[in-house]
C-alpha cells in the first residue's frame, strides 16, 4: 500500500534512521517545521496553514513514480566498528584527554570522563567471567548492534567498573536484550524512560552494593559503575544519541547510572523479590525494569510521622487520582524502606497480600472512565473493549475487565496483582518509592547472575 509519513523537523533524523535500521531506507517522509507544528496542533484551525503548506509535497510523494533505488534499494552493508584506536600524547594526561575528546566526538561517551578501554583492562574485565569474549549476549536496539561479552567489557571498563562486577553487568544486558523487553521504547521514546536496575541475592552484599541510605545517590562504586556500564553499553551498542534517535525530551533522570541499587534482603520481613519470582535464595539475580520520569516519594522520612498503612493508603490514593486505565494497564515497582515493610508485616501483610490489596484498592470506578473521549475512541470503556478484543489485555484477565465494564464496576489499573512489583530497600529512616510505566511488564526482566570467577557468589 503506497503511503507517506509526516514527522516534525525534530524527529526527521529519528524517522529516517529507523527506516534505514529496518531495511526500508526509501520510505518517503515529509517534514513539518517543529517550531510551527507544536504550537499549531491543538486545533484544526491553527493546523490548517501547516496542512496547506505541505499539501503539494504530500501529493507529489503519493504519485511521483519511484526511483530505482526506492523500488529496489541497495543492500545495506554490515557496519563494523571493531578496530583498535591508537591515540598519542605528549604525556599520559595528554593521551588520556585525547581519548576522552575522541570518544565524546564520536558519541561513544556520556560526557563524563571515561577510563580508556585498553586491551589490558578489557582482558582483565573479561577475566571476571567464565563466558567467552565472543559470546553474543543479544542485539541492542534501536540499531540492533551485537553485544558480545568483549564489547560489553569495553563499556564496563569505560565506566570504571571492577571485573568482579562484570557478571552482574552481563546478566543485566541479557535482560535488556531479551525479546520480551521493549528496549527500543526505553532507548528512543520521548517518554524519557530511565532503567531501574535491582540486584538481589548474596552477590549484592559480597560486592558491596548499597541498599540503604543514599542507595540512589553517589559514593558506592558498585551502584555507580554497574549502572554506568549499562548506560554506556546501551548507548554504544544500541548506537543512540540525543536528538538523533534518543528522543528523551528532558534527558533521563539518573542519566549516567540509571536507578541502580540492591534489595535489602537482610532487613526485609518477606522473602527476597527474586525468590518471589521462583529463584532460590542462594541465587543472585539482576532485574532490569524502567520508569517514566523519576519515582514518586512517599512516607515521612526522618521529619514527619508515618505508618506503613499510611504509606500504602497514600500510594493507592495517588494511583487512583491518575484515573486513566491504559489499554494494557500499568506496571508498578514499589520500593519500601525496611522499616515500612516491617511495619506492614506486623499488620499482617505478606508480599502477596499486599499486592492483592493494592490491586483491589486501586481499581477505578466505571463511572469515572465512561465519559471522556480517549485516544480516538468514544471513551475509555470503548478503548478497553478494543484492548480486550485485540489481546492487549491478556485473555486470562479479560473476564475481570469485562465484568467491570458496567455501572458500578471497578476497573483494575494493572492486569494482575503481580504487576505490583514489591522490593525492600532504603535506609532507616527512609522514604518509599513508586516507579511506574504504562503498559504491562514490557520492560521487566530478571536474570540469574552466573559465570563469576572473582566472587564466591554468582559462579554457577
Amino acid at each position: 500500500m503506497p503511503g507517506v509519513y509526516f514527522a516534525t523537523s525534530e524527529f526527521i533524523h529519528d524517522a529516517k534512521s529507523a527506516a534505514r535500521d529496518n531495511g526500508m531506507p526509501g520510505i518517503r517522509i515529509l517534514t513539518l517545521p517543529a517550531e510551527k507544528y507544536y504550537s499549531a496542533r491543538s486545533n484544526k484551525e491553527e493546523a490548517q496553514p501547516l496542512a496547506t503548506g505541505c499539501f503539494e509535497a504530500m501529493i507529489d510523494a503519493l504519485i511521483r513514480p519511484l526511483t530505482t533505488e526506492e523500488a529496489n534499494p541497495s543492500p545495506i552493508e554490515k557496519q563494523r566498528e571493531d578496530g583498535n584506536i591508537q591515540v598519542s600524547g605528549d604525556g599520559f594526561l595528554s593521551a588520556f584527554e585525547k581519548v576522552n575528546e575522541l570518544f565524546l566526538a564520536n558519541r561513544w561517551a556520556d560526557g563524563l570522563p571515561i577510563v580508556p578501554p585498553t586491551r589490558e583492562l578489557v582482558n582483565a574485565m573479561v577475566a571476571g567471567t567464565t563466558r567467552l569474549p565472543q559470546e553474543v549476549i543479544g542485539q541492542v536496539a534501536p540499531k540492533n548492534g551485537t553485544a558480545t561479552v568483549e564489547k560489553i567489557a569495553v563499556n564496563a571498563v569505560m565506566a570504571g567498573a571492577k571485573p568482579e562486577y562484570f557478571p552482574v553487568i552481563l546478566a543485566a544486558m541479557e535482560g535488556f536484550t531479551d525479546k520480551k523487553y521493549d528496549l527500543t521504547h526505553v532507548q528512543a521514546s520521548t517518554g524519557s524512560f530511565t532503567p531501574v536496575v535491582i540486584v538481589d541475592g548474596p552477590i549484592a552484599e559480597e560486592l558491596g552494593f548499597n541498599s540503604g541510605i543514599g542507595m540512589l545517590g553517589h559514593g558506592w562504586r558498585p551502584n555507580s559503575t554497574v549502572g554506568r556500564a549499562l548506560r554506556l553499553s546501551l548507548l554504544n551498542l544500541g548506537q543512540t544519541w540525543p536528538q538523533v534517535n534518543d528522543m528523551a525530551l528532558t534527558g533521563r533522570f539518573e542519566a549516567y547510572t540509571f536507578f541502580t541499587f540492591a534489595e535489602d534482603t537482610v532487613r526485609s520481613p518477606w522473602e527476597p523479590y527474586h525468590v518471589s519470582l521462583g529463584y532460590k535464595p542462594e541465587d543472585s539475580t539482576v532485574t532490569v525494569a524502567t520508569s517514566v520520569t523519576s519515582p514518586l516519594v512517599f512516607g515521612g522520612g526522618a521529619v514527619m510521622p508515618w505508618t506503613g498503612q499510611g504509606v500504602i493508603d497514600s500510594v493507592i490514593a495517588r494511583i487512583r487520582s491518575g484515573g486513566v486505565v491504559w489499554p494494557h494497564a500499568q506496571t508498578f515497582i514499589l520500593v519500601l524502606h525496611p522499616d515500612c515493610a516491617i511495619d506492614l508485616a506486623k499488620r499482617g501483610y505478606t508480599r502477596k497480600s499486599l499486592q492483592e490489596h493494592l490491586y483491589e484498592q486501586t481499581r477505578v470506578p466505571y463511572e469515572k472512565v465512561a465519559g471522556p473521549v480517549f485516544f480516538g475512541h468514544d471513551n475509555e470503556v470503548d478503548f478497553i473493549r478494543t484492548s480486550i478484543a485485540d489481546g492487549r489485555i491478556r485473555p486470562d484477565r479479560a473476564p475481570v475487565f469485562l465484568e467491570a465494564l458496567k455501572p458500578g464496576g471497578r476497573i483494575p489499573v494493572v492486569q494482575s496483582p503481580d504487576d505490583f512489583h514489591i522490593v525492600v530497600a532504603g535506609g532507616s529512616p527512609g522514604y518509599d518509592l513508586l516507579f511506574s510505566y504504562p503498559g504491562t511488564n514490557w520492560a521487566n526482566q530478571t536474570k540469574r547472575i552466573s559465570g563469576a570467577t572473582l566472587t564466591k557468589d554468582g559462579r554457577s
Partner: protein
C-alpha cells in the same frame, strides 16, 4: 622516564601511546525492501489518514482531509486512528489492518 599505559612509548621518552578498543559492535545489515509503487492519481481512491495517537495529530490530519476533499472530490477519505500512541504489546497486529481500509495512506505525525 616515560609513562607507558597499554603500549610502547615513541622515540620521545615523554610521549605516550594508548591503544584502546572501540566500544561499538557490529550491526548485522537488515534485509532491504523497496517501498510500494505509487498511484497515478488520487481520483476515485480511498485515502486512509492514519492518526498515530500523538496529541494534535488528529487536528493536522483533519485539516489535510478538508483540503483533500476540496481538491479531490472523487476520492474517499478514511480517518483511521491507531489505538494507542504506544508501540508496545500487540500493536504490531494492528498495522496490517491499515491495508484493509483503502488504497493509500498518510501517517502522522511522528513526534
Amino acid at each position: 622516564m616515560a609513562n607507558v599505559v597499554g603500549g610502547l612509548s615513541s622515540a620521545d621518552e615523554a610521549a605516550v601511546r594508548l591503544e584502546v578498543l572501540n566500544p561499538r559492535g557490529e550491526i548485522p545489515p537488515p534485509p532491504t525492501r523497496g517501498i510500494n509503487s505509487r498511484v497515478s492519481s488520487l481520483d476515485g481512491k480511498k485515502i486512509v489518514l492514519v492518526d498515530n495517537g500523538k496529541f494534535g495529530a488528529n487536528n493536522f490530519l483533519d485539516a489535510l482531509a478538508d483540503i483533500l476533499k476540496e481538491k479531490y472530490p472523487k476520492a474517499t477519505i478514511v480517518m483511521y486512528p491507531k489505538p494507542t500512541a504506544q508501540t508496545i504489546t500487540n500493536v504490531p497486529k494492528w498495522y496490517p489492518t491499515v491495508k484493509q481500509q483503502g488504497d493509500l495512506f498518510v501517517f502522522g505525525v511522528g513526534d
